[in-house]
Chain length 343, copies 4
Amino acid sequence: MIDLRSDTVTKPSEAMRKAAYEAEVGDDVYGEDPAVNELEETVADLLGKEAALFVPSGTQGNQIAVLSHCNPGNEIILEEESHIFLYEGAATSIFAGVQTRTLKGQRGAICPEGLAAAIRKDDIHFPETGLICLENTHNKAGGAVIPIENMMVIAQIAREHRIPIHLDGARLFNASVASGISVAKYAQLTDTVQVCLSKGLGAPVGSVLAGSELFINKARKWRKRLGGGMRQAGILAAPGLVALRENIERLADDHENAKLLADGLAEIDGIEILNKVETNIVLADVQGTGMTADAYVQLLKEQQVLANAFGPYSVRFVTHYDVGKGAIKKALAVASSLSKQPN
Amino acid sequence: MIDLRSDTVTKPSEAMRKAAYEAEVGDDVYGEDPAVNELEETVADLLGKEAALFVPSGTQGNQIAVLSHCNPGNEIILEEESHIFLYEGAATSIFAGVQTRTLKGQRGAICPEGLAAAIRKDDIHFPETGLICLENTHNKAGGAVIPIENMMVIAQIAREHRIPIHLDGARLFNASVASGISVAKYAQLTDTVQVCLSKGLGAPVGSVLAGSELFINKARKWRKRLGGGMRQAGILAAPGLVALRENIERLADDHENAKLLADGLAEIDGIEILNKVETNIVLADVQGTGMTADAYVQLLKEQQVLANAFGPYSVRFVTHYDVGKGAIKKALAVASSLSKQPN
Amino acid sequence: MIDLRSDTVTKPSEAMRKAAYEAEVGDDVYGEDPAVNELEETVADLLGKEAALFVPSGTQGNQIAVLSHCNPGNEIILEEESHIFLYEGAATSIFAGVQTRTLKGQRGAICPEGLAAAIRKDDIHFPETGLICLENTHNKAGGAVIPIENMMVIAQIAREHRIPIHLDGARLFNASVASGISVAKYAQLTDTVQVCLSKGLGAPVGSVLAGSELFINKARKWRKRLGGGMRQAGILAAPGLVALRENIERLADDHENAKLLADGLAEIDGIEILNKVETNIVLADVQGTGMTADAYVQLLKEQQVLANAFGPYSVRFVTHYDVGKGAIKKALAVASSLSKQPN
Amino acid sequence: MIDLRSDTVTKPSEAMRKAAYEAEVGDDVYGEDPAVNELEETVADLLGKEAALFVPSGTQGNQIAVLSHCNPGNEIILEEESHIFLYEGAATSIFAGVQTRTLKGQRGAICPEGLAAAIRKDDIHFPETGLICLENTHNKAGGAVIPIENMMVIAQIAREHRIPIHLDGARLFNASVASGISVAKYAQLTDTVQVCLSKGLGAPVGSVLAGSELFINKARKWRKRLGGGMRQAGILAAPGLVALRENIERLADDHENAKLLADGLAEIDGIEILNKVETNIVLADVQGTGMTADAYVQLLKEQQVLANAFGPYSVRFVTHYDVGKGAIKKALAVASSLSKQPN
Ligand SMILES: [Ca+2]
Ligand SMILES: [Ca+2]
Ligand SMILES: [Ca+2]
Ligand SMILES: [Ca+2]
Ligand SMILES: [Ca+2]
Ligand SMILES: [Ca+2]
């Protein structure tokens, strides 16, 4: 199987497994797990934040951020195809009681003027704008890197209105490797950041949420309420540390493979590439093949290639370290053969 | 004062006050207030619904509808400038735990294709689409009448997906009078409807929510939780009955006055009319006067004319029965004089 | 019918109806209703608070208090048979996201030591104690007056822990008339108070919530979200003012009638009085008659006397101004005749 | 250090670490992790339920149960010192919007008559009783085994009222080993069960929630919303399987050690044992030593013995597989020496 459905499918490397095996652990609910503590400090340092918190998933990291920043009746502003809005089961409204205010982005980037206009004035009829959420890279926009200039203007607006910013940086390391801008530079424009260890970095489980000490103290309690306080979590944190040590720079290979895949797909009859491929995601429109995305993905699967239907006619391919250049070429051969078949 | 801020400012007529004075009352929490019962039956009949519930405000009627139709984690679809989304303090997310999914409308009317595309598929990442909310007339679109053809297509889509529709009909009687289509015809396309008595109809307080018996039974309990269960509420219901009896047809005068006002304003230097005036709302862009909406409204006020700033440069005027043709002409004279002054 | 089910069934007097008829009204959502403003100021003064807010019901007043004082994840401490806990549909948990911590009271009065022990320490596992709720008089304890000494000790504990107190004073005027202690003296021991106008005071609809200016500003927004913002609410506020002016002192008659009723019932075979009758509520155990409360209440009803089943064998009678001494005597005659019948 | 604070501090055994190292993993959000699937099937079988779900913590298992069983506005009945009520940060009220109704238990066991009386009738003022929660063994009652006879009567009442039961079985294996009654027998009396792998069983992280297929499908979505969906979770599930295979029967040793500890402590001046020691928890009252629990625990710590203050004067000791008989004897020697010191 060549699994291009998501970079979440990455499996832990030998080094990560060994790290799990050898992890010095303790009870993290008591704050005594050495591997977790080291991981949290490492990520806080990388992101230039005072403190960090290990959480079981990116979704939980994002939810904790909203719960810690907001009060019920607040409105949060986010891009209309952001992960928090599309893929987290309306959790921000259920748990934090906030209303989602979505803005249409350009390749995932929110227009600063639109943002400024969307911030609520003080009025008895209005929710209070409590948080701005950004996502970099932006999944639904095809792994698009949000330009730092865009983030800088937004940060300026947020500061003026004293509204915090949370960055869903599930794939922030991809953005950093693609742009050459450090994750700390991105992070410094936002109050809090969530980064995933289990996507391109390949760790088995977990994300890290970073921010001020005060924020992380609040976050720790929300994690407990959400049931994300784990005991000997070092068994996950230790491979997470390996992921950070060994797998950041190599994301460049994934990006190169994604371009290779996109270029190959572009040459196939009936397939159009929908996104500018900057990182590890390729979005392909397959309507020209006469198939829906669902049908196309099914045919690929029969040939041992996995991808995800992402819209009625769009298919998402995600490259990662379990799929090398050779596998990409095989996948292209399969895609090529599908277009040659009479439907 | 010529008060054109809203039709909510209408004051009860002599007949309404007399009805309040004479109202036969009882304890409505026990279901024993005769005037309330008569009002609820009257509105249910008018709207062609099985049952109805008197509530203290349109906001509460809408909130009860969302609470009664939805479960936490649902997503509700609504127009991006609808009252429920813009002006109810994020209450649907706080109280019902639902996520708001907004669609850009055309004069308040949601595009059916966009609606169909926004309905969620069954997926562990997705909220379930639990309700579609419409608003007719549409306040923010300038009292626009949502075409019944648009509502028919949406009703068809909703039925196919088994998603209920709630109609925020705060000004549904205005839509009906303007279009010549009965409120029952509109209501039959939706599962539940909320109509206001205290706007153009002139009753002092209250709205009515209508739907199936089953729905109203659920709604009654949600009303209790929200603190909308009132005791001798006949004192409000009796004038509400007068409002329904005496003030529906005369909404045509308000619509005529709104057109008169719009035509007059359109001729004033620096003012542009933003909406097609179908009912009792006029939206004017005052940017050409060199003033912001706030400044313009302030100047009007100094001349005894009240209106509401509705955007940075847009001003809303609402006609109603406490403002006759003469008052409209005076208001126009004031507006005209403002444009002649050097700023 | 002799209606002893509740003092909520009181119907507005001629003076109240006239006040409604003549009320000078305005749009209270704009803060422009003179009668509402006068009512709010009057109650704030009576209670010695900075500000007050008119709300459609006691339930809404209590809910707004919890929403304004607390954050989600707080715990509120309240007596285990308090109205907020027993009779408000779990609304504090749904809307404010707070957990209810109940303490068993003595005639409705919480034991201060138990209260102190129930206040949570700072710990990642614990909700934060966010509010203490008292109820005076205490409905379920049979209209018991909570001794001011008890409230003073509780206020001291609350102050030490910086926890606010909300007083559900739906029948605080009854407590005051019975004890001779002013409502202001009670109110000064608590941060916020809700008093009902539509119970013993006889107004058709409404309660008032009082507290600091800052609190009432928050409360006003929560009222809007709950749908309690009403337009020409003066039509209710004006009779409310009459109620305050004319009906406080006469609560003594209700208390006297309650004693008369209790003394009479006590002499009837098979009936035991359960409460020390201090105000306008009588709780009777009817088990000795061989009937359940439901059956007993049904028999009374057939003889034109209404009361409420309050437990499997307990029946609640509430006196109020629509039931005079003569009616009490008739009710006693009916009760007496029931016990003489062979079942 | 002799760590008797909790059985959560157990560290993974060599066999568990090896299992993590070798775990065959997949993406569990796609349902493709073989170790997770095996663990879930194993636990479902053990408990005699149709299906099961791996979750990061017991708290999350409990919260998911409440979210899946209940609607907002429901009331849940639970013992007044249960973990869900005392130690989960009011999460059931925040997230599920349910009100907690607590009943005083006898050694953690709820009185069936009290339970029956607490179930709400159908009334517009009342929350609907939506769930009964039991806890076995009961932590705060000192690891007390809830008698199966008590559970049988409760199950009967619940069935009659069609109210589901959730069992917080964080330490259900301790109950089973102590009583000789299988976990399946306990589980069959309840609709859903949560069991912890990371307490006495020694797995590094995780709990399992079991119930019907329909329930687990709902639960899976709530887990996603709470952020408990983990990717290559096999790294945790594999040691969990080892825990189930190797560590259930040996809980008897922990129970024996707890008795040894209790007997020893009982002989020390100033210490009283508060609970009947049936499993692995000992509660000691240290007031007779002249110290508070906090002070006593601090002194123990200086002598390398860890325990938890559990009340103003009560100290909790929990035995587990990282503390053998020798360590217990050392702990006793320390405790003995403390009582001999002049304070
Ligand atoms: Ca992975
Ligand atoms: Ca009005
Ligand atoms: Ca009016
Ligand atoms: Ca009344
Ligand atoms: Ca362990
Ligand atoms: Ca453990």
